[in-house]
């Protein structure tokens, strides 16, 4: 896995992690292979893709919105709808309900079902539920009637 971004030493003194645009990130779609772009929060939503050369023309690019039902900004159908319509372009939804170390099967299912039911009202569906593999003992494929993908974390000690 190749990570494109500024190292901490490079981002001298600066305002926010990620406020600077790495030139390689701007041209990332010219790379071969699978590309995953982690686009953070912000008032502009999916318009951040304007910063990626060729984002509009790429037939393969998909914009996936990750929704965690325990986040206050998306903890009700109304708030989820607000969030998704504010984003702009959304091609798919990933249900990512979890409560960190306090995650339970009930929390994941309750939240992800709410997300699924809400986005169906918008004519979309949830592609899959993403869950940290450390919870694979309490959450199994088929649970909550949503396809499951387990996440392997590569930076488990990163505190955010």
């Amino acid at each position: 896995m190749k990570v494109i971004g500024f190292s901490r030493q490079d981002s001298f003194g600066l305002g926010e992690t990620g406020a600077m645009l790495n030139p390689q990130a701007r041209w990332i779609l010219r790379h071969e292979g699978d590309i995953i772009m982690d686009v953070g929060y912000g008032v502009h939503g999916a318009r951040t893709l304007n910063l990626v050369e060729g984002a509009d023309e790429s037939p393969e690019l998909k914009v996936l919105a990750v929704v965690n039902y325990t986040r206050p900004m998306t903890n009700s159908p109304a708030r989820i709808i607000d969030f998704l319509t504010g984003l702009g372009r959304v091609d798919g939804i990933i249900a990512n309900t979890h409560l960190g170390d306090e995650t339970t099967l009930e929390i994941v299912c309750q939240g992800n079902r709410m997300i699924r039911d809400t986005v169906r009202q918008l004519g979309m569906d949830v592609m899959y539920a993403a869950v940290d593999q450390k919870f694979s003992n309490i959450i199994k494929p088929g649970d909550c009637e949503i396809p499951l993908k387990l996440i392997e974390r590569y930076m488990p000690n990163a505190i955010w």
Partner: protein
Amino acid sequence: MVAPVTPKSWYLPSKPHKFCPGCGHGIVLKALGENIDELGIQNKIIFGCDIGCSLLSWNFFACDSTQTHHGRTTPVMVGIKRSRPELITVGYMGDGGGYSIGSQHLLNSAVRNEKVTLILVNNVNYGMTGGQMAPTTLPGQKTETTPYGRDPELTGYPTKGPEFISTLTSDGAYVARATVSKYMQLKRFIRNALRNQLEGNGFSFVEVLSTCPTNWRTNAQQTWHFLEDEMEKFFPVGEIKSPFGKGEKTNVAD
């Protein structure tokens, strides 16, 4: 292969610089660098930068430089100039550092006709901290602290810095607004601002309209459109006050 000419006063070990692709700072610093070379003042320059994206210029030049606090670049330059008048002080800041937290220093230095040269890069947002509203943010513009668009009823209209600064200055001051979309003019205005200090005339101030595609979330086309068709419409480009004759005006109403 023709290599682009790098100003001699640029500090090569800090290149490539860290400004975002599409950022206007690189253009402004090139114009400043070329002027420093052509005027032969590399050894006399003191370059001061603020907090914000201008901070990235702290080791940009092969000139003695000092990084200050947010909004305090102006008084630090004043302190240096008053102690060592033979040095050429160039203060470099953004619209936040200049018109917000630094505004009282800016306007008082203008009133006192301090013989410093200040370059203020205006990209209508607080870039480094993630895109909050700035004094120059346009009405209706979405930022992280105006998520529903800037409402002039609540937060006033964008600051027109050179305009208000020039009313405070006395004879010998040089006040102008340039834009990164017109490089030769930008270079001329910075040259005049430096010349003003070299001749000991008075306060010199150049605001430069600049681009921030990262926080504007604009592609190349949208970026230039926003600069040329929105910002330059709102903020007139030209020399507002100049001891060197009538002054150049692009679209300033006479």
